[in-house]
């Protein structure tokens, strides 16, 4: 598990039913591209988050396939429809098999 990985998500606490909201997500992760070399000249192996998903009450909002060209501390902004009250679940999948997640509830109002 990559160390010190911390998610940060911005979701409004409430929204009108059926409205669109903007979601921002960030996660602290080195995103080692596999292009860098260490002091001895050996390639540092790739170790990135390769996929990010966002669901709302189990339905897909966005599914992002990430390559090494995504910057360190990957950031995404996208829009979601909020049909009813419920939970956004954000999941990041690491090359090393770790899975990081965050959850935010949204009320209707």
């Amino acid at each position: 598990m990559a160390s010190g990985v911390k998610p940060r998500v911005k979701v409004p606490k409430s929204a009108a039913a059926g409205s669109a909201i903007t979601i921002k997500t960030l996660i602290s992760h080195k995103m080692e591209s596999g292009q860098r070399k260490d002091k001895e000249g050996n390639l540092i192996p790739r170790s990135i988050i390769n996929r990010f998903t966002c669901t709302f009450n189990g339905k897909s909002v966005i599914d992002i396939k990430m390559e090494p060209a995504i910057s360190t501390n990957p950031y995404f902004q996208f829009d979601a429809t909020v049909p009813e009250a419920g939970d956004f679940v954000f999941t990041w999948y690491d090359d090393d098999g770790s899975v990081y997640d965050a959850k935010k509830s949204v009320a209707i109002g």
Binding site: K59, V61, I64, K65
Partner: protein, 138 residues
């Protein structure tokens, strides 16, 4: 392993390229795009790619992409050692077919956004992003 003529030339060029470029060349831009489009034609327009004209730092370049009616958008950095950057797949609760992120660009290059539309067609947009070298080495 048998090499086709094209592969042999590419290998030869690759060997030359290796001696001048600090990175390994992986799949080409054409291959990456073909992997997404299945070789279909790609028309211009229908997708908007917003990227800075001059990137303050190639390490962190903010970009936004939007393609109303798309099911997926792929970003390709044609001058990067690995051209594939990101693919946004929009789900049923996506309120818009747009997304923003921050990417790494190895040098000045064309950044291409290709959108797969709901009817199976493909469209593209290209932005040139100048990536600069800082002053005192840094």
């Amino acid at each position: 392993m048998d090499f086709s003529r094209r592969e042999t030339i590419a290998l030869g060029l690759g060997a030359v390229a290796l001696s001048v470029m600090p990175f390994r060349v992986a799949a080409s831009t054409e291959e990456v795009i073909a992997g997404f489009t299945g070789g279909a034609d790609v028309a211009d327009g229908g997708v908007t790619l917003t990227a800075p004209e001059i990137a303050e730092n190639g390490n962190t370049v903010p970009i936004t992409v939007a393609a109303p009616g798309a099911v997926a958008i792929m970003i390709v950095a044609t001058g990067n050692p690995e051209p594939a950057v990101v693919t946004f797949n929009f789900g049923e609760l996506a309120a818009s077919q747009s997304a923003a992120t921050r990417i790494r660009l190895a040098g000045t290059q064309d950044v291409v956004a290709i959108a797969k539309m709901a009817d199976g067609s493909f469209v593209r947009a290209t932005s040139v992003v100048k990536v600069t070298i800082g002053g005192c080495g840094g």
